[in-house]
Amino acid sequence: MISFVFYLAFLLIFVVFAVYAERKTAAFIQNRLGPMEVGPKGILQTIADLLKMLQKEDIRADAVDLIPFLVAPFIVFAAVFTGYSVLPINEVVGGSGISAGVFFLLAVVSLDVLGILMAGWASNNKYSLYGAMRSVAQIVSYEVPLGISVLCVVIISGTLDLSQMSANQSHGLLSWHIVNHPVLIIPFIIFFIASLAESNRTPFDLPESESELIGGYSTEYSGFRWGMFMLAEYGMMLLLSILGAVMFFGGWSSPIDDFGTGPIWGSIWLLSKALILIFVQMWVRWTLPRLRVDQLMSLSWKYLTPLSIVMLFICALWKLWIIS
């Protein structure tokens, strides 16, 4: 319960600054300055945008399917945020103690597709529907390599519980999964690519692609409901980054064995690892162009899925021969 409340507050603050960081990262990569006017170095820009967004009219077009239209943003956010319930913060405050752990996380997160589908369908708009269709096809496809790469880690660590998984890696840098078991490097890359696709980020942002679908499933939304979609997108980014930090980079453990232990240090370590992964996501977003639909599908089914199955096999052998 504590972790849930902590992550809700952290997520809201994170989104405000992540949008700012995203714009600044984009600007620096493109030789620009980004927001500079509101506050020192433009740091209050997102707050100004947020105030503007909250004051906007909640537009409902005549032809929308009203109840699904109104409910969809909350389903998307609820699905993403339920995933946070199993994430640990530090060695004292673990997540919900269910034994299915990471499996539960992947299951509820896959429900956000339903909200996206609802939004796209209820908007009664062909661009929205195309966006929703693409989103479903993409998320359902990329769940396969994502799940298998998570399975590789589960095989190596022997537990589904994320708190237990972090506790296994809490003896300095050398005990982190990705260092201790270098066979996990390729599963990490697969996990990272699939997590980009799951959170609809560039280069996999086909569902919203502003330039062709003018926002996809969120085209018809305005004001607070649109903000919920935005919140869910950033929430998904943070969720999968924390998950990646816990599974591959030692969770709350510090890189040096006895330095910086304790609950506060633990949460700082975990969140800073997650934020570094988020920076990498932004860096990828402003480097790579968007994929075509067929390229997206062939990347998932022809390259990532076979590779992840091979890696699953190799991880099983590693577990059998090297660890035991």
Binding site: N31, L33, V284, Y303
Partner: protein, 216 residues
């Protein structure tokens, strides 16, 4: 391309792209210097952020920049050449003749005509500079001033005449009285009116038609 060839090309190009963009990210610590276009490395600006935060800072522009038009009305002899040459008709002049020479410009040309109205509509101006070329006293020039943004488009019509309404009426009155006096003295010579007509612009411009040779 083969399956593994695809993978290696994808990995290599992604890696290259990522390195490129992170290099730019770290170069963003540097800012572009405020140099004007005449300096040697003006075009070597790929390093560092390029943005000029315009209202707060500007790139220096040369003193002979040719942007907004300015008329030094004290030197203007109201010859109307600029209005005639203007390809977009953005200069609007209303002359009032004076009975005698009433002054001198700074280069010594005698002033005979008052400028009751000398308006340049900068929203029409195409910045060709022809008016400044034909100006005999070089009173009409282009200045380095380029930011003449206004909220009302009518404010783009810059008025250079210093004369007030009463002054204009006075001068008109003066000239009419003079003309009448002249007519009374020489009633058979109403040639002045003709001269006023010359000041006006021809209503239609000569049209040039390209001659297309006919095919045989």
């Amino acid at each position: 391309m083969s399956y593994f060839g695809n993978i290696s090309v994808a990995a290599k190009t992604t890696w290259k792209g990522m390195l490129l963009s992170i290099r730019y990210f770290f170069q963003a610590r540097k800012r572009r210097k405020k140099e004007w276009i005449g300096e040697d490395n003006y075009f070597n600006k790929a390093n560092g952020t390029f943005t000029v935060q315009y209202p707060h800072e500007q790139i220096p522009i040369p003193d002979h920049g040719r942007y907004q038009l300015h008329n030094e009305i004290d030197d203007c002899i109201v010859c109307d050449k600029c209005a005639k040459i203007c390809p977009v008709d953005c200069i609007d002049i209303e002359p009032v003749r004076s009975p005698e020479v009433f002054g001198q410009t700074s280069d010594g040309t005698p002033l005979r005509i008052h400028a009751a109205k000398f308006d340049i509509d900068m929203s029409k101006c195409c910045f060709c500079g022809l008016c400044t070329v034909v100006c005999p006293t070089e009173c009409l020039t282009m200045t380095k001033e380029f930011d003449f943004t206004t909220t009302d488009i009518l404010d783009h019509n810059f008025s250079f005449s210093k004369m007030t309404e009463t002054e204009i009426a006075e001068k008109k009155q003066e000239f009419e009285e003079y003309q009448e006096a002249k007519l009374k003295a020489k009633p058979e010579l109403p040639a002045i009116k003709k001269e006023v007509d010359v000041m006006k612009k021809p209503t239609s411009k000569p049209v040039f038609k390209p001659r297309i040779p006919k095919k045989k």
